[in-house]
Amino acid sequence: MKRVVSLAVLVTIVLGMSLLLALSGQSFYPSENLRWLAIVYLNTTYNPYLPDFTVRSPESVTAIVWDYRGLDTLYETTVFYLAIIAGLALGRGVKRLNQKPTDESGLSPIVKTVTKITGPMILAVAASIGLHGHLTPGGGFQGGATAAVVPVVFIVVFSSFYLLWKGVSSQRMLTLRSAGLIGIGLTSISLFLAGLLLGLPSYVFQNIAKAGSPLSMPYDVHGALLSGTLWWFNLFEFLAVSSGFTLAFIILMTPEAEEKW
């Protein structure tokens, strides 16, 4: 009862205060125009008339995330990687059980069968979200997070021993995750290395040819738009994020042995 009264008071405060603000002309209302910076970004994200500035990706959010501000995102990926490594370090010394899964473990057989059918479908959908990240909403992180449904649901519905039994171990996930991170790093300096080899000027995190550095990743392969490095970044980020989530869930959810340390 006390909660209902407090809630009514809260909602009334919100409605009344905003009525007062709107009546007195102090209301917050978005403008119809954008800042100039936003207009620059929107104008150059896919623009064949400005070949020195464009990213050649129709998705401007992915373009900003992985090209204009790519260094931010590289460090963000590293932070996420390190957080999971830190979790691993904190959980070290805990004995984890390891036994063969039985029919009894997990939820009912109906849920198990449904999970078996939908697993490949979810993975295909997630891959589609990830690999179309430079064309439609989505990208590596979004696709990877959607793909992480599959291991979570498998751990919960079967058991974490089932995953181990099928060969999804935390060491392999750590390897895959490191491979994803290394792939991102290599993609970011690939054109720089190519420039060193060919003796041409080029930048770190270079995607499309800029003024003064003619090197450029392949962005249009037989009519299919790849947007240069964005495709590769999305692919590696997909691997890194999905394996990272799997790793975190495996570490947290595997039952521990009784003895405390």
């Binding site: 939820l107 009912s108 109906i110 849920v111 449904v114 999970t115 059918i117 939908t118 479908m121 979810i122 959908v125 439609t136």
Partner: protein
């Protein structure tokens, strides 16, 4: 012609979804027992979710103003509705099983409980 038919069928399914969601919302709030609410929830997830999403896919197939990505929308709508069709009964079943197994909710009113007769509360107001 065929496009208009698709659009009108799809819109009809969307309206059906709105009606089903309303009925389901009323049922979820009127029934006094968890297991009875599950039946109302099924209306909300099949007629209320699967059918209108498939209907939106039909609309996208016939509605030309959506531009070049309308086939993307139709395909994604069909995949979504299929996934919901498969996943929602599994979720309901898992919840019902957990509720019954751990005695979270008694079966009330009840005619007969073949699984665990001690959970059957006879009579009781609806």
């Amino acid at each position: 012609m065929i496009e208009e038919l698709l659009v009108y069928t799809g819109l009809g399914l969307i309206a059906l979804g709105a009606f089903a969601q309303l009925v389901s919302g009323i049922g979820v709030n009127r029934f006094r027992n968890f297991y009875l609410r599950l039946h109302a929830a099924t209306i909300g997830s099949i007629w209320g979710c699967v059918y209108p999403i498939a209907g939106a896919g039909l609309v996208a197939l016939g509605y030309k103003e959506l531009g070049p990505y309308s086939t993307f929308m139709a395909g994604a709508a069909f995949v979504t509705s299929f996934l919901v069709l498969i996943l929602s009964p599994a979720g309901s079943h898992a919840l019902a099983r957990a509720a019954h197994k751990t005695r979270q909710a008694l079966v009330e009113p009840c005619v007969h409980d073949a699984l665990d007769p001690s959970m059957c509360v006879r009579g009781g107001g609806s």
